[in-house]
Point group: C2
Chain length 465, copies 2
């Protein structure tokens, strides 16, 4: 009964939202544009082109750490694929970054009972430990706040273990909460005299994978070795700490190099009438290296490339320029997005959006438009509705690689993907091609083609007038 | 409609089977025995004792390869646990075996495109490769039969890759088919001149784990390095081989030692009236080392120990002796089971059974009894029915560790567990405590306590009269 009431309420709200949407002002699109949208959606839902792109990247390049030799191969792959798909002005825009990779990353419980190896990943940017590792007693905190509240003498000389779990959410909002411990463990623990940091992996799965991830927002001077352990290993450690004093050895051998070469790959469909007005589509080329970088972010690379290609194949190119940005070095500090924003600050970006949340279906359309542009937002929503995309809010972030543009005032949108399962796989060895559902990928391409075509083939603006 | 018909048919069959069972001769049990069975089942379904035993083994010992130092710690753990639970004649029966472990086990695709590391596990018993690995072009076969049918010149000088998938089944029967490639790849490929063997892991999951496993039934003289790769890596390799010549480097550093110490741990509840008649309960202590040995076979150790303990706590001990065998070195050749059979060949084993199929619920009761004992089988079935255990067949195997006894004529039963998910986890890093469902473990204990009590507190025999 409770269930029926909940359903009735949900339907009520949905109807109200729908009525509002229908009643609100809406920028009309032409009958010809609607026919084009219908054609794009039908073509996208029939084509496996995006899946083939993801397959090619994963198979022919594989994992590709920021500024690695493999990332360079990924750029060459991207140039070839973008040219083969008929885009213009295909080019690499190089930049350099501090390179980081872990050559060894091991954690062992060394006290008895319970001496055993744990499954671990060094956090991006972590320094090396001494060659034979560092060994200390573990002090466990249920969450970051508990560490922050702890007196120094509870922490000094120990390895801090933050055992905070992550909440599963459809929109990925659990990540923002959980990821705080990844960046904050080392600086907070170091200030209290700790010798190392372990965190329960930032993820929602039950599998024995450690989730990789950067801790790039650390203040200068942070020098504490930091690692993530798998959920089952966090369980083991928590149980042993509850039994009595438990000692752990952490070992990291990090490969750290300054000024390592990375780069962005750019491609365009030049606009028919307003070529200097740019609709920017972003995804990133680099990946963590325990997985294959299939959902993060082979899927995004595939979605935006396949969507733009459908538009390129239209009889008439859109009014504005559509630009693809395949960013380098996103994972360890969003370097590609920052380099792009520096390089292209003087250009007119009409709107920017990014695909970097896996291969789940688009379920919601969010904008960050000026109030005067909301009728355009409603036009996009109406066009996206047949794909099962519902109305969202006006608080879109645009994603990491377009974050610098957003901060510079560029309007952004989010084609929000269903992220229910995303953090099961995110930054783990399980980020493999078989985690991509081809039908969901097709729906993404349809949604992207719809939005990008309408944004590029109109004179709508989304900034304050 | 089809669905409804199928349900009706299924119900029809079920009713027929039930009617047959009810009508068939059935050895009666006394009202006092039925009360004891009821009490045992209620106690089992309320107690987390088995889960606590599994938790203790996984947490305090962890992975424990056959004849390793960790397996020795597991024996000490078992002796302490069995004594603490009030069993008698707790002892270690030592034996020695050839020790094998892999210190390094790596596979890389080294040709372009596609150069990348694969997730791999050396197969138990595999020799080492040369120190820098062995490199050759890969030849793929969709299954073992295709390799067997291949001409030598298609195989000579190459690394054979058997890409055969495994079928998911509730009773585990898919394993028997799929595991053939694990044992047969090396000898068959070697006879045709291959230099190495790769197999798609024997498992049913989509996760990026290689499944470990022995290849102990190889003919003498087999010396081909052999490894399993994860499903996602098998996919990558298959796709690259389809694109063109693909070269792989295999690297194994095996630690091989003769006469390494292992052993069985034995404990008893001595029989009240017929102490020389033994009901044997087996599970194994050792495990593969990428996981924690939780479902294989921490769960079995926990189930049989908890079930026997419930019987020990009864006001009156059963007529016959109940003996627990926690076997050593099962995984790499069933050495513990063989040693037990040799050591105890002269004793009277009334019936033997093993728990070595994870922590899934018992769904079926199979026997291997003489025809004259079928009324006893039906008595067991009636007693097990309230736990959701259905009737099975008279072709029980008893399991690996009691295989030698079965071959010597000892009657066996199988409390068949639901194995639908078992091979998702089996022999992988994912074999961790969180894969055990506590409620299912309790149901196992209830089923075991029921069978073992009735077998031990009667004078029923299961051999031909």
């Amino acid at each position: 009964m409770k269930h029926l009431i909940a359903v009735a309420l949900a339907l009520g709200f949905a109807s109200a939202a729908y009525a509002q949407q229908v009643a609100a002002p809406l920028t009309p699109i032409t009958a010809a544009q609607q026919r084009t949208v219908d054609r794009l959606q039908a073509a996208a839902l029939e084509s496996n082109h995006a899946y083939e792109i993801a397959e090619s990247l994963v198979t022919e390049v594989g994992p590709r750490m920021a500024a690695s030799e493999a990332e360079a191969r990924a750029r060459d792959w991207a140039v070839a694929v973008l040219r083969a798909n008929g885009f213009e002005n295909v080019r690499i825009e190089p930049f350099t970054i501090p390179y980081w990779d872990a050559l060894r990353e091991e954690v062992h419980i060394v006290s008895t009972p319970g001496a055993q190896p744990l499954v671990a990943a060094a956090l991006g940017g972590s320094p090396s430990t001494p060659t034979n590792g560092l060994e200390a007693e573990v002090v466990r905190f249920p969450n970051l706040a508990a560490l922050e509240a702890a007196p120094n003498n509870a922490v000094a000389g120990r390895i801090v273990f933050i055992d905070e779990p992550m909440t599963r959410t459809q929109d990925g909002s659990g990540y923002g909460v959980a990821v705080a411990k990844r960046g904050r463990c080392a600086p907070v623990a170091q200030a209290k005299g700790a010798v190392g940091c372990l965190i329960r992996s930032v993820g929602t799965d039950p599998h024995r994978f450690a989730h990789q991830g950067g801790s790039s927002r650390q203040p200068a001077g942070t020098s504490l070795p930091a690692m993530a352990i798998s959920p089952a290993d966090a369980d083991i450690l928590a149980r042993l700490v509850a039994r009595g004093p438990t000692r752990v050895r952490m070992l990291i051998e990090a490969d750290i190099r300054e000024n390592a070469p990375s780069g962005n790959v750019i491609a365009e469909i030049r606009g028919r009438a307003r070529p200097n007005e740019i609709v920017l589509l972003a995804a990133h080329l680099d990946s963590w290296d325990m997985g294959q970088g299939a959902i993060d972010d082979g899927a995004g690379v595939a979605i935006i490339t396949a969507a733009a290609r459908l538009i390129r194949q239209l009889p008439r190119r859109p009014s504005r320029t559509i630009r693809i940005l395949l960013a380098g070095s996103e994972e360890n500090g969003v370097h590609g997005g920052a380099a792009y924003a520096r390089e292209h600050a003087g250009e007119t970006h009409v709107v920017a959006l990014e695909s970097d949340f896996g291969a789940g279906r688009v379920w919601r359309f969010d904008t960050r438009f000026a109030e005067n542009a909301m009728p355009h937002a409603r036009a996009f929503r109406r066009a996206l509705a047949p794909l099962g995309v519902g109305p969202g809010n006006n608080e879109a972030t645009g994603g990491a690689d377009v974050g610098a543009l957003r901060q510079a005032g560029v309007p952004v949108v989010d084609l929000q993907q269903d992220g229910w399962d995303y953090f099961d796989v995110h930054h783990t060895p399980n980020d493999t091609l078989n985690m991509i559902e081809p039908a969901a990928l097709r729906q993404n391409v349809a949604a992207w083609a719809t939005f990008v075509y309408l944004a590029a083939d109109n004179d709508w603006t989304f900034r304050p007038e």
